[in-house]
Symmetry: D2
């Protein structure tokens, strides 16, 4: 069976469209999670190539999956760039429990810290569209980042214990007219951080992972292999510094949900007008407005903990108030 | 074939759950549109009972469907109270075209006006949850209502040409602790309007009707027949004045989408964990934030035109600025 | 020296305009704080009449002032209805310290609790205009109220330990066309609470009291003595149940600031075009957007603590998430 | 009389502090308007130096004042960089009249156009803090800019008639940790525009100019002469391209209002605790939330008209919807 990968640029975010099967393009499933890309590949009946390693373990209530892609075949099979992809899957409970923001952030920080350089200034970039609820994770997250770079420059003695952090909300192409990568590259060239952390909303194939499966990777945010729009890529090659990506899925593509439904019922996805009408739909939890705010806060707190060390919850709020 | 109706109260709105078929409850489809309730009934293979009349015509670019339910059998068949249900279906184009807000409002006003009493004060009630994007149609709509009641009381000479209109955003039970119907009843008893217009977001079974099929009815907002929570009903019986409901679907229930997908593929909806996880999902257009604001504005303008006569677009904005 | 009181209805809220002095109306000062009404009266050189009692004490970092007005002369002198007015003045520090929301709420709750009936349902009403930052204290506060009335009705066993609380954001006359008092009266007649708590933004004469001097009173929200618009009054007489008012100043009237400035420089306020232009101005702290949110949260938490007993900070957030 | 200029960096914006008089620093007045800097200078009794030219004319209902600073003495006298400053003063009426947004924008565009290069891409930068109402003019304005640069790159044939425009909301130092000028410089080096338009909220000394006196200049946004923080300057020297600044005052500094009040009463500003408490206050119109949105829209529309030629009001909304 031949496997074809293609990519679709949605207006506000880039999400993967995996199309596998015959030339007739039977099934189309979109995901930004390496975890799911592996699942979809395996469901096609093919076996994973060399150079794709995977291990799982628990950290408290969370299930952690690490997928390392180390070969070109691995990149092609999963449609993702070489590197490490860590997914922290939380129980549904976390979304209902208000205490859990800080402890969840600690869990994420524990996985995030090894991906970051040990010292040097860090630039956090919030990707996505502030005005579209499920795409607002990035811009909302930057509001929870402890920004210190200017304080360290102005008052190095008072703030000597902190790491230099700055934050940028880069907007989206449709609202700025400038590729996000261009804006980030321009700022990186002025600020010279030791690393960039890019925060973005993701797409999942599975409703049960929405706002619950946080993915971190050291590969940057890259829409695919070299044939694609290289200008749009935020990675070490384009920016000159490591790019760590953090995100959480907030939508399932309606077409993907339909495909999965039919597949589970033993059917393939027919070419029909029904499908075309679903291309502009997304599936979200009913309480998406609240969940997006909560997820953005968790990611922000996790970044603060990974960069600034062992802050208490009270110290965190003190810095951010 | 036996037809069973049941109702589910979602956290923020009441939407219909039509369950028909065998005791095994094969298919579950939710809709607030009388138009779709008729479709679903007809798809079950049964024929419509006496006392359900239906006619269609065009008004400019819009397709108008009027369904009159005039018998108890009709109420049971469609799961909706006796009365008239008018749906104005717009081409997809209207959502892209910024000029069309005013002309669309004129089209709606033309159908709305005959449902309203010819004179007397009117209370517009915005239903739904301001903090959940697809449920915010009602609260957002009240921001576009030309409110005149206080001006007429204070300066009757200056504003003599206008009809008395007041507006209320009633909140939702989870945020107020009070049934919306209780709040509206209390205000109606103080204000004594000649009619209430209730604006609410609806659910559709069909993605192509989202933010495009505006429904108006003279039956109030009532979650079903007498066995249900009578306190929650906003209708002439409970409020003592006619209640005209206006709404537009903003979500498709994910379970309904799944059921329709499987049905079109010749399958029934299996009892599976996949379905349970979908109960908390909704399907919306990708640009739902913008569409909800636009739809709320159209409904507000339509109410103003139906109540205050032939305002120009410029006069409308003048009153609302 | 003759003392004249008059009142001005601002578009969105009622604030007091104290005008004292000769017929030439030398000074005009606006305040909603009984504490400041007493100050202004005393600055006029007159001595306080019988029936105005005042005592002060400290509670932790806060300074508490209780003013009891017990006679008609007292009402006239201070331009406020008979009853108790408790002001909790906080050090400036509280606005900078994020930990202090919960402890400040505990301080307020300690003074608020004795004003409330010991049992029975309570209706919290948020007054003011959500769309005008310094007037949004009331609507924002209701978002922090633990609403329980519907839970107690639906599941009395699970929630038996809680007091029944409901909440209403009543809007403003200019946006609803209905006097706020009419709306509240209508809802009170349906809900039958044992008391109403009315939350509102206030005006102060003094910049240093902005977002720092919280006033509670058992007199309702009443714009003055009987000659004024009685329909607008929210008090025991109009609603049939006790009305406890809570508020904090968010603005100083620009004219009042000007008058105080000139007075301190030994001058009276001249009749000049400069003054007319200042009638539409308000003075606020530069960080008013953040302070309004914080103050609304403190008042909401204080109401929860006064009504539901000794919740921890974590329990509070649990209920509100 | 000796004239001393100094500058104070407020948390979110830079505004001028003119301090003139004896060493005892009697009066302190802040303004961003060249028009008012001239007024304040003249009120000091000194006569304007050579190299400051001024002319006035009417354009419809608006009064236009052009001040050209052409010498070093002129720069020192007014505390502003060499260049042209055009102020369009509108009657109060414009703020009440909803029709006037488009016609006001036409008036501004007429003065703005000659300041801009005739061709080449333009980068519009929104300065200020989105989360502080009177400082949000810049970020809100960018939402009304017709952004075309990406369309021209992707579909040059379809959009050939348009000028390339891109837009950036740069955030504020306290939220990003990066000097705004650094961010803009980085983006300019990637995008290579022919000019930058910088939109910002301003401070006025006079309440009657709030949201009514729009200033445009070809000098960039610069906090003063060479002794100051050169990194913070957005001008041709620092960015390599012309920087046109557009703004409108939204606040009066409370200290400035106090100083003007006392001065009109024949007094000087005493050193007193009253003044220190006023340093953190601002004076704004009571309807500042609505006025800021309206002003941002007018500036956005004016920029579109100056860059894209004679759009109708309907075409403008079409592009922006």
């Amino acid at each position: 069976m031949q496997v074809i990968f293609c990519i679709k640029h949605l207006p506000t975010r880039k999400i993967f469209l995996f199309c596998y099967g015959e030339v007739s393009l039977l099934f189309a499933k979109r995901t930004d999670l390496a975890l799911e890309a592996r699942e979809i590949f395996e469901e096609s009946g093919a076996s994973l190539p060399d150079g794709v390693k995977s291990r799982e373990y628990r950290q408290g209530m969370a299930g952690v999956t690490c997928i390392d892609i180390e070969s070109e075949e691995g990149e092609r099979a999963l449609g993702k760039a070489r590197g490490s992809y860590i997914t922290v899957a939380l129980p549904e409970l976390w979304m209902r429990d208000s205490d859990s923001v800080f402890t969840t952030a600690q869990t994420l920080a524990h996985e995030l810290k090894p991906l970051l350089p040990e010292c040097g200034a860090v630039l956090v970039v919030g990707l996505g569209n502030r005005f579209i609820t499920p795409d607002a994770i990035g811009p909302l997250c930057t509001e929870h980042i402890i920004v210190t770079r200017h304080l360290l420059e102005q008052m190095p003695d008072e703030f000597g214990g902190l790491r230099a952090v700055c934050a940028l909300t880069a907007g989206v192409l449709g609202l700025t007219g400038i590729e996000t990568a261009e804006i980030v590259r321009g700022v990186v060239q002025r600020v010279h951080p030791s690393a960039v952390i890019a925060v973005d909303a993701l797409a999942s194939r599975s409703a049960e992972r929405l706002c619950r499966a946080f993915q971190m990777s050291d590969t940057g945010v890259t829409p695919g292999s070299g044939v694609f729009n290289a200008r749009a890529t935020l990675d070490k090659k384009s920016l000159g510094v490591p790019v760590i990506a953090i995100g959480v899925p907030t939508v399932v593509d309606a077409l993907t949900l339909t495909a999965d439904t039919l597949e589970q019922a033993g059917h393939s996805l027919p070419e029909s007008p029904m499908l075309r009408e679903r291309e502009n739909l997304m599936v979200t939890p009913k309480d998406i407005d609240a969940l997006v705010h909560k997820s953005a806060k968790v990611i922000g707190y996790a970044i603060n903990l990974a960069l600034q060390g062992d802050l208490t919850a009270a110290e965190m709020e003190q810095f951010l108030s």
